[in-house]
């Protein structure tokens, strides 16, 4: 089983988000060039799961954030950490606004 989030990117817009189920999960947010701007999770504190979390991302990033991809999972905390570690492994650092997490997350050396 692959550990990377490799689903196709979708357009990050209110209509697409509104069509999502209000489930728990993890996601990545990207710009037009496919650069990942955020690795996040929708947890139990988000009233409508992924929908609420992605709405917050739009509010935070503004027009720079244009795409997203996601995965439903009730293990959103450990999966989120895994995605952060993968990002760190692949890019040497986390997205700018998540650099504070670098001291907390571990390290992976995936195959």
């Amino acid at each position: 089983m692959g550990i990377r989030l490799s689903k196709p990117w979708e357009s990050l817009d209110p209509l697409t988000i509104a069509a999502l189920p209000a489930q728990l999960g993890v996601y990545q947010i990207a710009d037009d060039g496919g650069n990942v701007l955020s690795v996040g999770y929708a947890g139990a504190k988000h009233p409508f799961g992924l929908r609420s979390a992605l709405e917050q991302e739009i509010e935070f990033h503004g027009t720079e954030a244009t795409h997203f991809r996601y995965e439903f999972t009730s293990n959103y905390r450990s999966r989120w950490d895994e995605l952060l570690m993968l990002h760190l492994h692949d890019h040497g650092q986390l997205p700018d606004h998540q650099r504070d997490e670098e001291g907390r997350v571990g390290r992976l050396s995936p195959n």
Partner: protein, 388 residues
């Protein structure tokens, strides 16, 4: 046995209970229900508090600067420290400090300087790498990671599974087969720096426990200096086994806290929730569940304290520790299950901690030796060594 607490024990229990209720539980109201850590500023503030209380580094032996609690007092604290949402696997979010890997207290002075003391100062973290994909309940026979000597070094190849904390560890205690003996006499313990070439954390292993995940490790031609061997060559299993026995008492005690808290929640709920014209507490079906909970909690507490007292008195306690682990994990699982049933729909939501305890307690019946292995240990002792 007399389980009356001494004045000092009662004071410690009361202090710990107040700390959990006034400092930990309120913070959890704001955290994600599956959170495994506090905000850094809260963590630092609470560590300063436990240090000023003289309770920091609970499990550090007195000669290394720890508070010198006996096993009974430590078990009583474990019961209190786990009475919050994250308490089963992260009692009080670690603000009482850790003691590092117990095996390192048996290390050489040089090894202690390199790994133990920095761990006690909070500068390094270690992980315990025993279980493999080939099995964990019978590690002496299951270990397939191989080590062979090449001059002053050993070369290790193999993999480990369900290893907690490896992705953040500075070093790992790795057990490898180093002779043709297929059993416990062919295993050696190596202390391995995790930046050693060939040490790989391949993936996170997702389980019922959403935080404090496990990992899978792979070792490819990993070269470890001879001086990193802990204990004797081919004497590693005794080191691993000693840990497994000693861990069972606090491991069992920690299961009782969530059961106690769940029972308190269920009693409050039963006394306030009405159905069919009367309170839940007035219905025999609910009363019996509450009574069965109480029996389970008291039984588990008795077994844990009996094992702890035997350990403190210097007697053999292997059977009692195995019984405590078996009874506490299974009884607490039953209690939380019944409390969910009493709560109904809200019991299975993340609005309450019950669902998290329910998931995590299920792991406790497997981790640190499953119930069946505990029965095996007790059967050997009860039936006697000659019964084969």
């Amino acid at each position: 046995m007399d389980f009356t607490l001494t004045e000092e024990q009662q004071m410690i229990v009361d202090t710990t209970r107040r700390f959990v209720q006034s400092e930990i539980v309120p913070l959890e109201e704001e955290l994600d229900p599956d959170a495994g850590s506090l905000a850094v500023e809260d963590q630092d503030r609470l560590v300063a508090m436990t240090q000023s209380m003289g309770f920091y580094g609970l499990d550090i032996p007195e000669e290394y600067g720890g508070p010198g609690l006996n096993t009974t007092t430590r078990a009583l604290m474990a019961i209190e420290m786990s009475q919050h949402r994250a308490g089963l696997y992260n009692p009080c979010y670690g603000v009482f400090g850790g003691a590092g890997l117990a095996q390192l207290y048996e290390a050489t002075d040089t090894q202690k300087e390199q790994w133990l003391y920095p761990t006690l100062r909070g500068e390094k973290k270690g992980c315990f790498a025993l279980t493999e994909p080939s099995g964990g309940s019978d590690p002496a026979r299951a270990i397939q990671t191989r080590g062979f000597q090449d001059g002053d070094e050993w070369v290790l190849n193999g993999s480990k599974l369900y290893i907690s904390g490896a992705d953040k560890a500075d070093y790992a205690l790795v057990f490898a087969r180093t002779s043709d003996d297929p059993g416990r006499n062919g295993v050696t313990a190596f202390i391995v720096d995790t930046d050693t070439p060939g040490f790989h954390v391949r993936r996170v292993v997702h389980t019922l426990r959403a935080t404090h995940y496990a990992t899978e490790l792979q070792f490819d031609e990993m070269r470890v200096p001879q001086e990193n061997i802990l204990g004797e060559v081919n004497g590693g299993f005794a080191i691993a086994n000693d840990r497994l026995s000693r861990q069972r008492i606090p491991y069992a005690a920690g299961c009782i806290g969530p059961a106690i808290r769940a029972q308190e929640m269920a009693i409050d709920w039963a006394k306030s929730r009405e159905t069919f014209g009367s309170l839940l507490a007035e219905k025999q079906a609910i009363q019996w569940m509450i009574v069965d909970n109480e029996i389970d909690i008291r039984h588990a507490r008795y077994c844990v304290l009996e094992a702890a007292q035997k350990a403190d008195s210097g007697d053999r306690f292997r059977t009692e520790a195995a019984m405590a682990k078996l009874v506490a994990t299974e009884a607490s699982s039953r209690v939380v299950d019944r409390c969910i049933q009493i709560h109904g729909g809200v019991g299975v939501t993340k609005d309450l901690p019950l669902e998290r305890w329910y998931r995590e307690l299920r792991i406790r019946r497997v981790g640190e030796g499953p119930s069946e292995v505990q029965r095996l240990i007790m059967a050997r002792d009860i039936l006697g060594g000659s019964f084969k």
